[in-house]
């Protein structure tokens, strides 16, 4: 019995593992898009332009949110539920702010004539960044569920797996964004 429990402990929790496989799958979608982008870049009428400044602010926001969710996870494990709730709220708001800043950035681009249909290079930017934002929004929805659970009086669950899964996903969308930003800056 004891050895079986030990064996079980060494293995990664199935839900966490599922998330890692899902991350690989999401990465493949972005790999498909970014390789299409690289192929298209050699086209004659490829159009280069500067990324809107506000994307830099959004980058800072998402990095900070990654730190806050890391702190939230630590507080949860130490059973500091008040601090956990506070940090979860901050992360949630930062996630929304990230998406809002990106929307602002793209609205300015659109107003300056860099519309979706103008050139393939711009269309790619809208789609790649947009799909990333959809993944952040998915995380925001998940945070809302965690948030509701954290404030519900009925639920007294100290199982840290959901929190760990959430925080891993959040770090993933953060790192994915940094990768995409570097990609978009380097290859244009």
């Amino acid at each position: 019995m004891a050895t079986m429990a030990m064996e079980q402990r060494k293995r990664i929790h199935p839900h966490k593992f599922t998330l890692w496989v899902a991350i690989a799958s999401i990465l493949m979608m972005f790999a498909g898009l970014t390789s299409a982008y690289i192929v298209k870049r050699n086209q004659a009428n490829w159009f280069t332009f500067d990324l809107p400044k506000v994307l830099w602010y959004s980058t800072v926001v998402i990095i900070v949110s990654s730190v806050t969710i890391w702190m939230a996870e630590r507080q949860f494990k130490q059973r500091e539920m008040m601090a956990y709730r506070r940090l979860l709220t901050v992360t949630f708001l930062l996630g929304l702010l990230f998406v809002a800043l990106q929307v602002i950035g793209f609205t300015t681009m659109w107003k300056n004539g860099l519309t979706l249909q103008k050139n393939v290079s711009i269309s790619f930017l809208y789609i790649i960044v947009g799909l990333h934002a959809v993944h952040v929004l998915g995380g925001v929805v998940a945070l809302m569920v965690m948030f509701a659970k954290a404030f519900s009086r009925k639920v007294r669950n100290y199982n840290s797996v959901p929190v760990e899964v959430m925080s891993t996903y959040w770090h993933f969308v953060d790192i994915l964004w940094i990768y995409l930003l570097v990609f978009l800056l380097m290859i244009r």
Partner: protein, 600 residues
């Protein structure tokens, strides 16, 4: 301290599992509709897949009617299809829609969802010794996304302008421009939405299969003791999870091109003398994104059939599978190569010939693991004590079809030959035999073999034998002549070959093919009848292990409930293929290794 806590947790978990069924009050809805039991979800996939198979098969009979009898009219067709068959003759637009939907339905809805959806769900937990999937909820969602995709695709058959008709590969510009054809209108949008749902469904399923296999195996079930079915389903899931997202990205770009005026795939296009504003796109880009999924998809379809045939051949030869590790290794090699050969579908797109040479090499390399598998199946059969059950016949039929279809793959993999053979009936013959019919045989083998575990009854053997012989002879009679037509240059997807002097001589052959295809379709209806009849009236299963198999699914009760084993999950002590060892017919995986046992 933490160890004690863990022991306590594990113990509590076991107790909870053991009493699971007593606490669980199941209603009709939770048991048969929104079920989270992997066995019920498997049956849902199977039955939905069978309905799609009948629809997809019927479509092929309809367009074969046009191909075989282009001069004749069938007034009953008009009653049945309305304006799509005015005067009893298929409208060309609708002919293309039928061809497109036949491909879409059979490749995705039947041989992907129907095949791995059914058997991955049913066999993975039962054969690795798990109570259910890693996430039963995601598993249920996987089926319901498939169901949603099915509803949308089915609805697209009835829209005014008809379903998608640009071929199952939906190449732009035909698929990207609503004005290109009537099937490029709303039917195409519904196709894309349906496929997006379908992709979500297979991703949710695949995630679950992978984590279940890697994390939920019972005690003693090391990876190298897993049955080959589970290995095959594992590689299938990995291929799906890594390749479907790329198709999704391609489909998203296509949706933008269709509806929001972007130009990813479009450039310099003129429709009815009007120049379109799109510039800078390339239709070839879509082909790259499509075939990056499309080729692994071939193995997503084929691997489960390979795995099940391996298992069934070993059980019914009463011999260990020959070269277990070689079987696993060759499936691994196939899975890797599957990602590196997609451009062999694109040799005639103006691909750099130097690049083409690499793809030729990598494509031909697939022959090596494929041949290893074939030799291993044959050596497993060699001097076996063979029982020709219906499942066994279909498994052997699978091997036969895999050999004959695989050999023509070596022809097509050569870029020089492919310039002549590309888009001819040779290709149709090749992929129908090696991927379509062969995988169907794997699926039939699986259904006949595991039917007793699924429904507690046997299927009727006489009907099964008729089904087998009509199908295997019929399949060869249909597809073998197509090789000759293809070598003569007859292109695929044409509506009426009578219009070309060079293909007129194939009129009689086409008629013959169409005639046989109707007989084979009728044989499939016989299978459906046998399936439904046997669920209610089949001979009852009385022994726990009717085939004398070693794997864990036969240690469950006759009709296992949710949780599979009423008591503890059995522990595993050996691999799945100890047949005919030390004078014993079979030794279950749960039996400990004896002190004097030989090392095979």
């Amino acid at each position: 301290m933490s160890t004690t806590a863990a022991v306590h947790d594990a113990h509590a978990h076991d107790v909870h599992d053991a009493h699971h069924e007593h606490h669980h009050h199941e209603t009709f809805i939770s048991k048969y509709v929104f079920s989270q039991d992997h066995k019920m979800i498997a049956k849902q996939f199977l039955i939905t897949g069978m309905i799609w198979a009948i629809i997809g098969g019927l479509f092929s009979v309809l367009f074969r009617l046009q191909l075989g009898y282009p001069e004749s009219t069938f007034p009953w067709l008009e009653d049945f299809l309305g304006h799509w068959a005015k005067g009893g003759k298929l409208n060309p637009e609708f002919y293309y829609a039928l061809v497109t939907m036949h491909g879409t339905i059979l490749v995705f809805f039947v041989l992907t969802a129907g095949l791995s959806g059914t058997f991955a769900n049913f066999l993975i937990p039962l054969q690795i010794g798990a109570r259910d999937m890693a996430s039963p909820l995601l598993n249920m969602l996987s089926y319901w996304f498939f169901f949603l995709a099915s509803i949308i695709m089915f609805a697209s058959l009835f829209v005014q302008t008809g379903p998608a008709s640009g071929g199952w590969t939906i190449y732009p510009p035909l698929s990207a421009l609503g004005d290109a054809s009537s099937g490029s209108k709303i039917g195409m949008d519904l196709w894309l939405v349906s496929m997006a749902m379908f992709i979500v469904s297979s991703l949710l399923g695949g995630l679950n299969y992978i984590s279940t296999i890697l994390n939920m195996r019972t005690k003693g079930m090391s990876m190298t003791r897993m049955p080959l079915t589970v290995w095959a389903l594992f590689f299938t899931a990995v291929l799906g999870v890594l390749s479907f997202p790329v198709l999704l990205s391609g489909a998203i770009l296509l949706l933008f091109d269709r509806n929001l005026g972007t130009s990813f795939y479009l450039s310099d296009i003129v429709i009815n003398g009007k120049i379109l504003p799109n510039e800078g796109g390339s239709a070839i880009l879509f082909q790259h994104l499509f075939w990056f999924l499309g080729h692994p998809e071939v193995y997503i379809i084929l691997l489960p059939a390979m795995g099940m045939s391996s298992e069934i051949i070993s059980v019914n030869s009463r011999k260990p599978i020959f070269g277990y590790m070689a079987m696993v290794g060759s499936m691994f090699a196939i899975a890797i190569l599957a990602f590196l050969v997609w451009a062999h579908h694109m040799f005639v797109t103006g691909l750099n010939p130097f690049l083409g040479a690499f793809f030729v090499l990598l494509t031909l390399l697939i022959a090596v693991p494929s041949a290893i598998k074939v030799f291993n199946w044959l050596t497993t059969l060699w001097r076996g004590n063979i029982r020709f059950t219906p499942a066994m016949l279909f498994a052997i039929g699978f091997v036969s079809l895999f050999i004959s279809g695989g050999l023509t793959g070596i022809f097509l993999g050569n870029s020089a030959l492919d310039i002549h053979l590309h888009d001819t009936y040779f290709v149709i013959a090749h992929f129908h035999i090696v991927m379509g019919v062969a995988s169907f045989f794997g699926m039939f083998a699986g259904v006949y073999h595991w039917f007793p575990k699924m429904f507690g009854r046997f299927m009727n053997n006489t009907l099964a034998y008729i089904h087998f012989w009509v199908t295997i002879i019929g399949a060869y009679l249909i597809f073998w002549p197509m090789h000759y037509e293809g070598l003569a240059g007859m292109p695929r997807r044409y509506y009426d070959y009578g219009m070309w002097e060079s293909f007129k001589m194939f009129g009689g052959l086409n008629q013959f093919i169409s005639f046989v295809s109707m007989i084979v379709f009728a044989a499939q209806l016989l299978f459906v009848f046998n399936f439904i009849y046997s669920i209610f009236k089949g001979r009852k299963l009385t022994a726990l292990n009717p085939w004398g198999a070693n794997t864990l699914e036969w240690t469950t009760p006759l009709r296992p409930g949710h949780g599979n084993w009423p008591g503890e999950i059995p522990e595993v002590h050996r691999g799945a293929y100890d047949y005919g060892k030390d004078g014993r017919e079979f030794i279950s995986q749960t039996e400990p290794v004896g002190p004097n046992e030989s090392h095979h």
